[in-house]
């Protein structure tokens, strides 16, 4: 049994990655994620891993490309502006079908924005900022405990499907301290199954090539259709969400990450006024919990989406409910954090109470 420790979200994430078998990290400084590379700079050498402070985010993600091609578990992290730069590499890595894990500790945007917590990178994470047909599995933790424990699931899914996986958190989750218990035993990379596509010593086998291009007419289409099938399989099997107080709810709130915590604390306020507030928290933002939301829309008239942006996930919620329920939105972007009272006000307004 692992002990309970008090940790900062960013450090819990970095330690979680190391415990999950990460042995290579390259990154570039940007607030509010600096604790991650700082932690990795001493922690990885301790376990025989490699830490490199790259000259840019572009370079950092491409170092990951090379290291992942050699078969080890790798990680990078950044905030929105840096993730924008990393999208080039993420697209190539997706095309080459290599597993990587990365984290976006969101800040206010667009542009340089500010360094306050925000959720404005939802589109970037779930739609990709890179070019071409690809998908990234996106996990949205809402506690330090999940920050620390999600990397292991991310690595497992990345290896299983040969796709990039990521944690999408915000500056608040990265900076705050909470107790955490790691719910898994440290992974020894030596115990992981060998991959049959990695580069290295070609003694006794055919040479291997890792590439994302195919100029032969028709071949790339076929390959991309195959990738599409793989993404469909992920959508069928890897959706994760948390249902709270949904049975007989008068209204259902949909929120992820930090926003979901504030929304959860609005539930008792409703109780006092005789309003039953349900909460659906998507844990994976892609694949998005479409089916469960569609079922919820059969039973409830009003859905309120709360985000720390000007309305991004709300589009997915609308897609999911297929017009069966009214979808409302309340957002506080670029450093604004909604309060419990604000959210309850919105609920009362919608229900005309």
């Amino acid at each position: 049994m692992n002990e309970k420790i008090l940790m900062k979200g960013n450090e819990a994430l970095a330690e979680g990655a190391v415990r999950a078998g990460c042995r290579f990290f390259s990154g570039y400084p940007i607030t509010p994620q600096n604790e991650i590379p700082e932690y990795m700079s001493w922690r990885l050498p301790e376990v025989g891993g490699t830490f490199i402070q790259a000259e840019s985010e572009v370079s950092a993600i491409n170092m990951l490309f090379g290291a992942s091609a050699c078969g080890i578990r790798v990680m990078t992290s950044s905030s929105g502006p840096g993730i924008s730069l990393k999208q080039e590499g993420i697209s190539y890595i997706s095309g080459a079908e290599l597993p990587i894990f990365y984290a976006d500790i969101m800040r206010g945007g667009p542009g340089l924005g500010n360094i306050a917590p925000a959720q404005g990178d939802y589109f970037q994470a779930t739609r990709g900022g890179g070019h071409g047909d690809y998908r990234v599995i996106v996990f949205a933790p809402n506690s330090v405990s999940e920050m620390g424990n999600f990397p292991k699931i991310c690595y497992e899914l990345a290896d299983k499907y040969r796709v990039p996986t990521m944690v999408l958190a915000d500056g608040l989750l990265g900076q705050m301290m909470e107790p955490i218990v790691y719910n898994f035993e440290p992974v020894d990379p030596k115990d992981l199954p060998e991959k049959d596509y990695t580069l290295g010593c070609a003694e006794g086998r055919e040479r291997r090539v890792i590439r994302s291009y195919d100029l032969r007419p028709g071949y790339l289409e076929k390959n991309t259709l195959r990738l599409g099938e793989k993404f469909k399989k992920i959508e069928e099997n890897e959706v994760r969400y948390e249902k709270i107080n949904l049975e007989g709810a008068d209204i259902v709130i949909v929120a992820f990450g930090t926003a979901s915590r504030v929304c959860k604390s609005a539930i008792p306020l409703g109780k006092e006024d005789g309003i039953k507030i349900g909460l659906l928290r998507p844990i994976t933002l892609w694949p998005f919990p479409m089916k469960v939301l569609n079922q919820i829309a059969d039973k409830v008239e009003n859905i309120l989406v709360v985000e720390m942006n000007i309305g991004q996930m709300v589009e997915d919620v609308k897609l999911a409910v297929e017009g069966k329920a009214k979808v409302h939105f309340y957002g506080r972007p670029s450093g604004g954090i909604p309060t419990t009272e604000e959210i309850f006000e919105q609920v009362k307004k919608i229900l005309k109470r």
Binding site: N62, G66, A69, C70, L199, G200, R211
Partner: protein
């Protein structure tokens, strides 16, 4: 009659026919690199990186593990590979647009970190794959599809001399400029490539071989005219020679102790 074998196909290349234009230097440079890898006995533990550009297909031609990353990112990918597999020999094959334009940051920083990798830098002063646009190494006054009246320094600045740019850094083990425009130079180029790989095998850090290479198609010249252009126009601007030579192994400690400056040589030719 006794037969004497004077030349054989290198095992370092696959059987796939190359798509390069007649008179292009890439085919020669591929063969030289492949022969060196074979002769050094490291073919089975070499990982090559193909660039974006004409030689994107290098991943089909080199008979070793290969990876094809984004434009200009070869040195970063090489860093990730070499740090993960220090037992492997890692080379990044890049053109002038790839290395000296979009990938300049990656090149300079891999060099400054003294990554123990080898870069084969093909300088033909033009973007070949995309049809002959101006490269960072396009000569002053030289015509390209984006400098149709010749490169005007007031508009497009000056060509970049990569070896000269990297040489003042503390880190690089070996920097050399050679050419493959004629047979005698081809043999010297091979020697330089071999030395660069040797530097990596000896753990002496970053090695880069810049190779002047003809591109008749995008220079709008015949193959013979291209040879002349390389000789009379390219080489005077991009002088051949070693810009930084590696320490000899036994001298490493001594020189570090005494703080002796690195020897610069330009007498390679």
């Amino acid at each position: 009659m006794k037969e004497k074998k004077v030349f054989k196909r290198t095992k370092g290349l696959t059987d796939i026919p190359m798509r390069y234009c007649p008179g292009c230097g890439h085919g020669i440079i591929h063969r030289l690199v492949a022969e060196v890898i074979e002769e050094l006995g490291v073919l089975k533990r070499t990982i090559g990186i193909a660039p974006v550009g004409c030689s994107v297909f290098a991943d089909e031609y080199f008979n070793c593990d290969m990876i094809q990353p984004a434009h200009g990112r070869g040195p970063a990918v090489a860093t990730g590979i070499k740090r993960t597999r220090p037992d492997c020999i890692v080379f990044s094959y890049q053109g002038d647009g790839d290395l000296a334009s979009i990938g300049m940051a990656e090149t300079v920083h891999a060099c400054a970190r003294s990554e123990n990798i080898t870069i084969i830098f093909v300088n033909n002063a033009i973007y070949g794959m995309t049809g002959g646009q101006m490269a960072p190494t396009t000569l002053i006054g030289m015509k390209s599809t984006t400098t149709p009246f010749g490169r005007d320094v007031k508009v497009a600045g000056y060509p970049i001399k990569v070896c000269e740019l990297l040489a003042p850094l503390e880190a690089p083990g070996y920097l050399v400029r050679v050419s493959v425009h004629k047979a005698s130079q081809v043999m010297k180029a091979k020697k330089a490539i071999k030395k660069a790989f040797q530097v990596q095998m000896d753990g002496l850090g970053f090695s880069l071989v810049e190779i002047i290479s003809p591109c008749p198609t995008d220079w709008f010249l015949t193959s013979l005219q291209a040879v002349e252009f390389a000789e009379k126009q390219m080489i005077p601007y991009f002088p051949l020679g070693e810009f930084k030579t590696p320490y000899k192994k036994e001298e490493v400690k001594k020189e570090a102790k005494e703080g002796i400056e690195v020897e610069y040589r330009t007498d390679f030719n």
